[in-house]
């Protein structure tokens, strides 16, 4: 039961990290677009 709970938490932590990484990719994409547009 504890292992099941641990795996559930680890899965959600991985999803959260993937979300953060994806967010950074999107952020850097928009920063690049904005800076290129400004030039």
């Amino acid at each position: 039961m504890r292992d099941k709970e641990f795996h559930r938490r680890r899965r959600w932590r991985n999803y959260a990290l993937a979300g953060v990484l994806l967010g950074l990719v999107v952020l850097f994409f928009f920063i690049t677009m904005a800076r290129m547009g400004a030039q």
């Binding site: 959260a16 920063i31 800076r35 547009g37």
Partner: protein
């Protein structure tokens, strides 16, 4: 491996969590001192709005994000450094590090990582001046205030207050790319507001600070000296809040509002002198936060009126 939570007691008396335990997301958020962050972000945004020039909306959002994350990172490093005295004070003993929910090393690593990330992103996306100011603010809060001043001098929050005063300058620099008299004026308002704000809190939390060995002015110099210094800073603050009118940063709507608010703040400072209990200090502290918030709201309102006209 299952999630195991175990705690030990370090040299400072703070319960310290072991590496490997589960840390709740809310504790990571608490490390960033979100309530302090909200005022920092707000004053930073006002600096951006008032600054001459224009910034791409995406870059403006990035600048705000960097100010927020940088402020939070400084808070996390501060919680790592102050974990021994935080454990002794009622107000701070439930913070994630002294309560044993976050290991000190994790808090430090989290703070350093976010500091580097926020300054780097500000430099890459916005400009070097804003990034330099953000880096200096984090350095000032952590090294000058937390490590050098806080435990050594009753002037800790007077000089250390500069750290909280930089955000509008960072916001201004993010848009205009420079430091001007106008942005220094915004800095000065927060700088002079900090002593009466913090000493109001220190007056009714004196026992807490004394227990932790933090030489706040009420602990070292007593109530009488503190309340008179609070009055002196409040009196000095009022003309400084009117400076934006003289330098053309804002108009009479702001001026009238700032003067009215200043007089109310002065009334609170006088009531703290006349009242020998903690009641008036307890009332002045929340009002001081509202006061600063409204001063910066007035700057925004005045600016929007100018644009509308």
């Amino acid at each position: 491996m299952t999630a195991t939570q175990y705690a030990s007691v370090d040299a400072g008396g703070a319960a310290s969590a072991a590496v490997g335990q589960e840390i709740a997301l809310k504790d990571f958020i608490a490390l960033l001192k979100p309530r302090v962050m909200s005022l920092v972000v707000f004053t930073g945004v006002v600096g951006m709005v008032l600054a001459p020039g224009a910034l791409h909306p995406v870059l403006a959002i990035v600048a705000i994000l960097c100010i927020a994350v940088g402020a939070g990172a400084a808070g996390a490093i501060n919680m790592w450094y102050d974990r021994d005295i935080d454990a002794l004070m009622t107000r701070t003993k439930n913070r994630p590090v002294p309560a044993g929910r976050v290991p000190p090393g994790i808090a430090l690593g989290f703070g350093i990582t976010l500091s580097i990330a926020s300054v780097s992103l500000m430099a890459l996306a916005v400009n070097g001046v804003a990034a330099g100011l953000l880096a200096f603010t984090i350095f000032f809060y952590v090294v000058i205030y937390s490590m050098a001043l806080k435990r050594r001098t009753p002037q800790n929050i007077v000089i250390g207050g500069a750290a909280g005063a930089f955000p509008p300058m960072i916001g201004w620099a993010a848009v205009s790319g420079d430091i001007t008299l106008a942005s220094i004026t915004l800095f000065a308002i927060i700088f002079l507001w900090t002593p009466p704000h913090f000493w109001a809190l220190a007056l009714y939390k004196k026992d807490d600070y004394e227990k932790a060995g933090v030489p706040m002015l009420p602990v070292v110099a007593g109530r009488k000296a503190t309340v008179w210094q609070m009055l002196a800073y409040t009196v000095a603050l009022i003309p400084i809040t009117l400076l934006p009118c003289y330098i053309g940063l804002s108009g009479m709507v702001y001026g009238a509002g700032a003067l009215a608010l200043g007089l109310v703040f002065l009334g609170f400072a006088i009531s703290v002198i006349r009242d020998h209990s903690d009641r008036s200090a307890r009332r002045m502290f929340p009002f001081s936060i509202l006061y600063l918030f409204l001063i910066f709201v007035l700057l925004l309102v005045d600016q929007s009126l100018w644009i509308a006209v």
